[in-house]
């Protein structure tokens, strides 16, 4: 019998198989690229879900993403530090904004909270878009420093040029986030989060520091999302406000998490791993112009048949086996 939140053996096995494939298979470059980006989106979905585990559905995580992207890119541009350092600074910027969220939206719940988070994306977005001097405004930042190669002993991981290395890097990144997400479900902290989600008043009665738990979850989630944004900026090489603050980065983690299973340790990751490669590799080449309709159809059918996400279904299947 699995403990709540513990991923079933099957899911673990699949994950390890994927890692092994990425490491050793000499597949086509495009497979590495898509798998890497799927891991990236998996990490993003997991980061969002960490806060969603407290019961708060945020529609504004793009704010952290964009702040992380711009934070890291600007630190790199002005202070010429290595991207491997500035991405953490980017995450910190995201975290600070998360803290501001906590200060302002502390009493909000439900739909009011969702709307406030949605509105809060505009503040950094418009500020950056108008601050021509600092950020080049609407022109966006081009020529952002790429992630430099990492030397581990005799092997060089050229994360930017070599797609296999990039895939590996993103996979490792996702694993770190998976671990943190796992901890947010199955640790003392995890139990506190769960109690806050189930019933805030009851939780505070038994001594759970509800605001503190929410703050911690929010800051971790904001930091990781900002980190994702920073990595994205250095992978792409150029960003603009409309891109990194777009609804796409607020909505996709939500959709992937629900698709994959919100209450599974690997749920959001699984959602990304299934949908993203299917979309980019299969749907795009089957229907160059109609792939989005197929994507939408898959989504509708999945939720109708698996209301708790694919992860939950897999969990049940392996439990009853």
């Amino acid at each position: 019998m699995n403990k709540p939140g513990h991923p079933s053996f099957l899911i673990l096995a699949v994950t390890f198989a994927l890692i092994a494939w990425a490491a050793f298979l000499t597949g086509s470059g495009i497979h590495y690229r898509v798998l890497g980006m799927a891991c990236f989106y998996g990490a993003l979905a997991l980061s969002w879900n960490i806060f969603a585990l407290t019961g708060a559905i945020s529609l504004g995580h793009a704010a952290f993403f964009g702040l992380g992207a711009y934070g890291s890119a600007l630190f790199c541009q002005y202070w010429h530090w290595s991207p491997y350092i500035t991405i953490f600074l980017g995450g910190t910027v995201g975290c600070i904004y998360g803290f501001l969220w906590h200060l302002t939206f502390r009493k909000l719940r439900g739909a009011a909270f969702a709307l406030a988070t949605l509105a809060s994306v505009e503040i950094p977005k418009v500020t950056i878009d108008n601050w021509d001097r600092l950020t080049s405004g609407s022109l966006g930042l081009v020529g952002i420093a790429r992630l430099p190669p990492v030397n581990l002993g005799s092997i060089t991981f050229d994360v930017d040029e070599n797609l296999q290395a990039q895939c590996f890097f993103l996979l490792m990144f996702a694993l770190v986030v998976i671990y943190i997400h796992f901890k947010a479900m199955s640790s003392k902290w995890g139990w506190a989060i769960r109690s806050v989600r189930e019933d805030e008043i009851a939780a505070s009665t038994i001594g759970v520091d509800v605001p503190g738990i929410r703050l911690r979850a929010l800051c971790v989630s904001a930091y990781l999302t900002g980190l994702c944004g920073a990595v994205y900026a250095h992978l792409m090489g150029s960003i603009e406000p409309a891109l990194v603050f777009s609804l796409h980065f607020s909505a996709l983690p939500l959709v992937l998490s629900i698709f994959g299973g919100r209450y599974q340790a690997l749920g959001p990751f699984l959602g990304a791993l299934i949908l993203y490669p299917a979309d980019q590799l299969l749907f795009h080449s089957w229907f160059p112009a109609g792939h989005a309709a197929f994507y939408g159809l898959v989504m509708v059918i999945t939720i109708l048949f698996f209301p708790h996400g694919i992860g939950e279904w897999v969990q049940q299947k392996t439990k009853s086996a």
């Binding site: 878009d129 609407s138 022109l139 150029s238 795009h284 089957w286 160059p288 112009a289 792939h291 989005a292």
Partner: protein, 392 residues
């Protein structure tokens, strides 16, 4: 509408079959365009232009006996999807050349990938300076550039309008912003007072307050750097509220037959820019232009426009380079095709196509048109003009 249904069905079916249709020994070229999303209209137009060029070549028996196969992908207006799909085309499908692309945020990443893979990329609709200056990408070429839009526009305003005051509106996108800055600098240099310089975000549904400011300051001309849908809203609100404005000049979105058709009376007197349109073509290419319009209309059940022609021109350039490579007896490779592109010299309806060492077109200049009685009339430059400016 049944016609458009049929037409679209044909296009979509054709594109769906692209992945399945494989000619033996085919020459494969790839394109990545926004086929869905907000940019879909122009993305599809570029696609059709490229397709027209490919089919033209195949109708003549292909290049040295081999058919040309066009593999199309959608970038959903997202740079990262553009990268994914370009990589798919380069790695899996193994195309020997790339065309297409609509916005510079998407063209940039594609051009970098093309360079990494040593595959030539002829962009159909790239404008910004940063893509060619100082970047020295020997595999990147484009058939358009911002100077070919901003300079004719500015010259036209200064030489033929001589306004005392001007208002500038531009969109918060990199291309439109660069344009806005260019035009503002150019006009200020010429001594024009600019009381309003306004930036708006695409997707804005209402321009009433902006128009109120325009009414207040009464400029002689409004230069609107928004796009097709923005003009649909802005011009109608302008007319509805009877804002006194002598001249409305828009580099993007106005000089289209479909714009005139949708807007009807409200489009009378507006000024726009275009590189080509049916009836507006490089002197000396009238016959070729007419043939193209006729063939295109028969194939796609609608006339081509300037965006279509950008796609067509870029594809013609790539195919001509492929042809020259094969004619000289060499095997196709990215480097050889790029070399041929560098020395290309073609007279096409849209422009006298030749690339400089940065990959920019040497002779890309748009013309200024005015919508008069439902038709596009060229009013600038004088050597291309087909009519005089009509007072509205």
């Amino acid at each position: 509408m049944v016609r458009s249904l049929g037409r679209l069905a044909i296009v979509l079916l054709y594109m769906t079959l692209q992945a399945a249709v494989v000619f033996a020994d085919a020459i494969r070229i790839g394109e990545v365009n926004p086929l869905t999303g907000k940019l879909a209209k122009h993305g599809l137009e570029i696609h059709e232009g490229i397709l027209a060029a490919v089919e033209e070549v195949n109708a003549r028996g292909g290049i040295k006996g081999s058919m040309v196969e066009l593999v199309s992908r959608d970038d959903q207006s997202l740079p990262e999807v553009a990268i994914n799909q370009t990589e798919e085309l380069l790695y899996r499908v193994k195309v020997i050349g790339l065309v297409g692309g609509y916005v510079d945020a998407l063209v940039g990443p594609i051009s970098e990938l093309a360079a990494k893979h040593r595959t030539p990329y002829v962009a159909s609709a790239s404008l910004q300076r940063s893509l060619t200056e100082g970047r020295q990408n020997p595999y990147f070429f484009r058939v358009s550039q911002l100077d070919g839009v901003a300079k004719p526009l500015c010259d036209f305003v200064i030489e033929m309008i001589h306004p005392k005051t001007a208002a500038i509106l531009y969109a918060a996108t990199p291309g439109s912003t660069e344009f806005g800055h260019d035009v503002e600098a150019c006009l200020r240099n010429a001594g024009v007072t600019i009381p309003i310089v306004e930036k708006f975000r695409p997707g804005t549904l209402d321009f009433s307050s902006f128009l109120l400011k325009v009414r207040q300051s009464q400029p002689d001309i409004l230069i609107s750097g928004g796009f097709y849908p923005d003009h649909l809203i802005l011009v109608r609100h302008l007319r509805e509220q009877k804002i006194p404005l002598p001249i409305y000049l828009a580099p993007w979105g106005v000089a289209y037959a479909s714009f005139i058709e949708e807007m009807g009376e409200a489009s009378e007197g507006l000024f726009g820019l275009c590189a080509w349109n049916p009836g507006i073509t490089l002197p000396g290419t009238e016959k070729e232009s007419e043939l193209f319009v006729e063939r295109f209309t028969r194939r796609f059940s609608k006339p081509p426009n300037t965006t279509t022609m950008h796609g067509y021109t870029s594809a013609r350039a790539l195919l001509a380079a492929v042809d020259k490579t094969l004619q000289s007896g060499q095997e196709l490779s990215g480097d050889r095709i790029s070399q041929q592109l560098r020395s290309l010299d073609l007279i096409l309806p849209m422009e006298h196509l030749a690339f400089n060492q940065n990959g920019d077109p040497k002779h890309y200049d748009q013309v200024v048109v005015q919508i008069q009685k439902g038709k596009l009339v060229v009013v600038y430059p004088p050597n291309r003009a087909t009519g005089k400016i009509m007072e509205h």
